[in-house]
Symmetry: C2
Subunit: 350 residues, 2 copies
Amino acid sequence: MPAMENGLTYKNAGVDIDAQDQALARIKELARATFTPGVLSEIGSFGGLFTLQPENPEAPVLVASADGVGTKLKVAQMAGKHHTVGEDLVNHCVNDILVQGARPLFFLDYLATGKLQPHVVVELVSGMARACQVHGCALLGGETAEMPGFYGPGEYDLAGFIVGLAFRDRLLDRNRVAAGDSLVALPSSGLHTNGYSLARKVFFETLKLTVDSYVPELACTVGEELLRVHRSYFAAVWPLVEAGLVKSAAHITGGGIPDNLPRALPPHLGAEIDLKSFDEPAVFRLIRQAGKVPEEDMRRTFNLGVGMILVVGEQHVGQVLSRLVLHGPGWIIGRVVEGAGVRFVGERVG
Amino acid sequence: MPAMENGLTYKNAGVDIDAQDQALARIKELARATFTPGVLSEIGSFGGLFTLQPENPEAPVLVASADGVGTKLKVAQMAGKHHTVGEDLVNHCVNDILVQGARPLFFLDYLATGKLQPHVVVELVSGMARACQVHGCALLGGETAEMPGFYGPGEYDLAGFIVGLAFRDRLLDRNRVAAGDSLVALPSSGLHTNGYSLARKVFFETLKLTVDSYVPELACTVGEELLRVHRSYFAAVWPLVEAGLVKSAAHITGGGIPDNLPRALPPHLGAEIDLKSFDEPAVFRLIRQAGKVPEEDMRRTFNLGVGMILVVGEQHVGQVLSRLVLHGPGWIIGRVVEGAGVRFVGERVG
């Protein structure tokens, strides 16, 4: 199989990020035409911003985001373990509005399956409910659809929708970012919910493992590693947002640091990321080596151990790092520089 | 095939409404535990109600709903026609919050597919954008997920999330309904987005037709009939809501009149539905006959020509009917009676 000899890339694993980008451009145009005066966000933000009172700058802003769990669901279905993906979904959504400066108000889910298995649904919802409770977020409703002939036995898809609240003067805003600002990274808890098409190929096809296989390098089974819950950064980051210590932030999801960090920067600024500033978790090293995945694809596919990046003005870095100690902790991964794009420096050896 | 000799029911077509109900009871319990003071709705409402200021009865109320298109998507995929299901989805969501007394603010979508086909995505979004524009609703964002190995070639699932605005004193409220109130029906535009698992069995398996087959009884092709856009009742009903002429309302979706109308009535009241008050559209007669579908299943599966039912106090019926003339028009389909449940009277002949 040539794809494997050449190394697995996200494109030959079936995900074409460029085709996605093309369609997205047209979609943005169509969406923009529907915008009403209440819409405050640019398209392509992590969450959409909407105000009920466009003329009132003191009015609260609603921040909304939709997301899925991707093919991590396949791993849950292989393992017969369904509550963690419910938590994944809520936490993913919470992070997406957190990087806009919003706290969660309510969440709705969409669950589609071929034949409803009550115990599976209850497990999924219990995971969502638990994660909602942690965030003081109401699980306000949802849709459970039986679509026979559409999803195979035991298969389901799961999407989530969150609405949060922010105040205009506390919104994170990439336009406040300046060259020289520090980039503070927060560790991920594993793959989170991205890169699973490629990760599944490596673990289940290349390495021919099962969810129950114990992997010494990971010190756990494949299923345990791949089902680690997507970390919520709310507890760590919300106090910093409330205190006005963060200028903008990026949730590192599909597309990795190169695609997500620029969303937190103004178009004329870029970032320098110091690879020597952190150790990559074992799961990413294993995927890179076993799948012979080119470095460029690793970086555009996985979070590589960095789940969120905060853009912090120099005068606040010390305070941010010390307040993060209880939660993670964070570290300085790089800085904002003139000129668009993300440059990686300090190549790791080995 | 015994299922067909006995007539097709929604249960043997693969949808088990009872299993769904069991899981729903547990889900409600889990969701209720997450409720914060901002939540105003009972679970099981067409849309969830949330206020930013629980202590202020004048504060606006957010009404949110999640929905899918169900296996109508399969028909769109067979016909290679994707813009109508985008409209279906938005209109379905709009109707779900309209029956609470809300007008749409913004909408987000979740689109999941195996391999992203840009022209399909653009068609889907153009349908959603068109329907959003009609309603002054911003298409605020969404998630487009490529999930290779999860969805087959050309397959996708599509879900929508809407947030609307209502004022507490204009919320439709089933607790204001009294015995003797009139039930005003509004015609559907076809199957809307419910009953497609059964309808597809009848058209494509029992009758062995294709989407391109012309059906004289329908005066159109199967694809044209099955892809008719789910009607939005916003233009017809919103002015009545604003004028305070409607007490409560039911969007007739999965479960038909027997499952949806009670959601618009207090628990101790029921409804009498006069079947002689309207002619059933041809598509439902055809499905009943060709599929030998028992009447009970027809009623719990399809809207049978009735897409929305308004509960109207006697003194406002004349005004409501005359204002609906421009839009449909509506008719009196029955009345609210003492005792729970929906009774059908005036059996049709033939």
